[in-house]
């Protein structure tokens, strides 16, 4: 089978992405974080972050087509990603480890047209993650007056984002990605003090501690979901949005 895929997870360092684009101009870029419904190969323990499981399942299911994997392993991703990158190396993948921990020097200069737009929340998250590679200009999006905040990472099951109204502003790692600083703790932990915000993480992710801490600090709602949300979790989000 022809190898035609450049795979990645998280937000690979920009120079490495640019170099890889030049080396493989016709390659198909695949984000391994995303759940493409490939079979669970059970290579990862049951009680583990579902995003890391996605990475491993996607990688092995696409192994014959993957040229190389750009693998963030720094504070811009997580320790689990480091161990997975080493395991995948042992399994014969061409892994390029990247660390993207740059800090913003002028927070007032950040451009966040998607996070602050009035697009549906799911669309916002899809555009931001898609733009890691595409790098299109979205400066002309119409802004919203936010009524709610969504803090966190892109969920494994994006359908929970459809519970939120369009005037929901994006915070957390997703916002840091749009800003171009996925490892900047100040951007990741910024929220608006009086904006009712839901703090989301995947279960078994180390960001759970941060989400819980911030939810308590800002009187938001902490939600952790494993693979897919159950009805009670959805109802909890709906109640928070309705009562606030």
């Amino acid at each position: 089978m022809t190898k035609d895929i450049i795979a990645f997870w998280g937000y690979p360092e920009k120079n490495i992405t640019d170099k890889t684009k030049l080396e493989h101009p016709d390659a198909l870029w695949i984000d391994l974080d995303i759940n493409y419904n490939y079979p669970d190969l059970k290579l990862i323990p049951e009680n583990y972050c579902v995003i890391i499981k996605n990475i491993v399942n996607n990688a092995f299911c696409l192994k014959d087509r993957i040229i190389k994997i750009l693998a963030p392993i720094g504070k811009d991703k997580c320790d689990s990603a480091y161990f997975i990158s080493e395991i995948l190396t042992l399994e014969g993948f061409d892994i390029v480890q990247t660390v993207f921990e740059d800090k913003c020097k002028d927070y007032n200069s950040l451009k966040l047209p998607i996070s602050t737009s009035n697009l549906p929340l799911r669309k916002k998250v899809e555009l931001i993650t898609g733009n890691i590679i595409d790098r299109k200009d979205y400066q002309n999006l119409e802004k919203c007056t936010p009524a709610f905040g969504f803090w966190g990472v892109p969920p494994n099951d994006l359908s929970i984002l459809e519970l939120f109204p369009d005037n929901t502003e994006v915070f957390g790692w997703i916002r840091a990605v749009e800003a171009g600083y996925p490892g900047d703790f100040n951007i990741e932990t910024y929220v608006k003090k009086d904006l009712p915000t839901i703090f989301f993480t995947q279960a078994f992710c180390s960001k759970t501690a941060l989400a819980k801490y911030l939810a308590n600090k800002y009187e938001g709602l902490f939600i952790d979901i494993d693979a897919v949300p159950n009805n009670s979790t959805k109802a909890k989000i709906e109640a928070f949005l309705k009562l606030r």
Binding site: A235, K236, A239
Partner: protein
């Protein structure tokens, strides 16, 4: 014409029938709901019967207990399979939570324990000691161990219920004033246990159906 409001719980369904100024409250086994009612004006909980409007349970709870919430009480609904609470501050929503993953420390477990040991709710008495039941399944193990070593089953289950009350208190972030909604209002052991930690006001089983009536008023 009678307007019917339904709070369909996992074990019990609470019903409010409103005809003119007359209100009638009923509790039936949830398994009988579809035999007795085909539709209703508003519903909450776990039901598939036809309804003009479905209302989220936590919203129904908040609407049903609004006058207590406005006095800065935390309102806690402890059901068969889940537990949820809502808190207001200065007349506005402030905080809430809803357990969503594990039902092993809720009403269904207590009902199963009572059946397993042939006990009635009235047999349970407040005990100063409690089991730590962060996980209800581990709590069951402690009950069985203690009973096998000679502790009366009613005392062991009472210790479990005390643990459950303590969990509820912690779950509400240690609220000073807690209003209880649901069948646990009638569980003397639970109520006495919870009073060790907070001021407790029982609101009865019909808070959510009252909330359906109040919603959007």
């Amino acid at each position: 014409m009678t307007d019917i409001y339904i709070d369909a719980g996992t074990t019990w369904t609470k019903i409010l029938e409103v005809k003119g100024d007359k209100k009638t409250y009923k509790t039936i086994k949830s398994g009988k709901l579809k035999d007795l009612y085909s539709d209703c004006k508003k519903a909450t909980g776990h039901t598939s019967i036809k309804t003009e409007k479905y209302v989220n349970e936590a919203v129904a709870l908040a609407m049903g207990a609004k006058k207590y919430l406005e006095k800065d009480c935390t309102v806690l609904d402890l059901g068969s399979r889940d537990i949820k609470w809502v808190k207001y501050q200065n007349g506005k929503f402030k905080d809430m939570d809803w357990n969503t993953a594990c039902a092993s420390a809720t009403g269904a477990t207590v009902e199963m324990l009572l059946k397993f040991y042939g006990l009635k709710t009235e047999d349970l008495e407040f005990t100063k000691e409690k089991y730590t039941i962060t996980c209800g399944i581990f709590g069951l193990e402690k009950i069985m161990d203690d009973v096998s070593h000679g502790l009366k089953a009613s005392v062991a289950v009472s210790k479990f219920v005390h643990g459950l009350a303590y969990n509820a208190y912690i779950f509400t972030k240690k609220s000073e004033n807690i209003c209880i909604s649901g069948g646990f209002c009638e569980n003397r052991c639970f109520m006495e246990s919870l009073k060790q930690y907070a001021n407790v006001i029982p609101l009865g089983r019909y808070v959510l159906v009252d909330g359906l009536l109040n919603e959007n008023q």
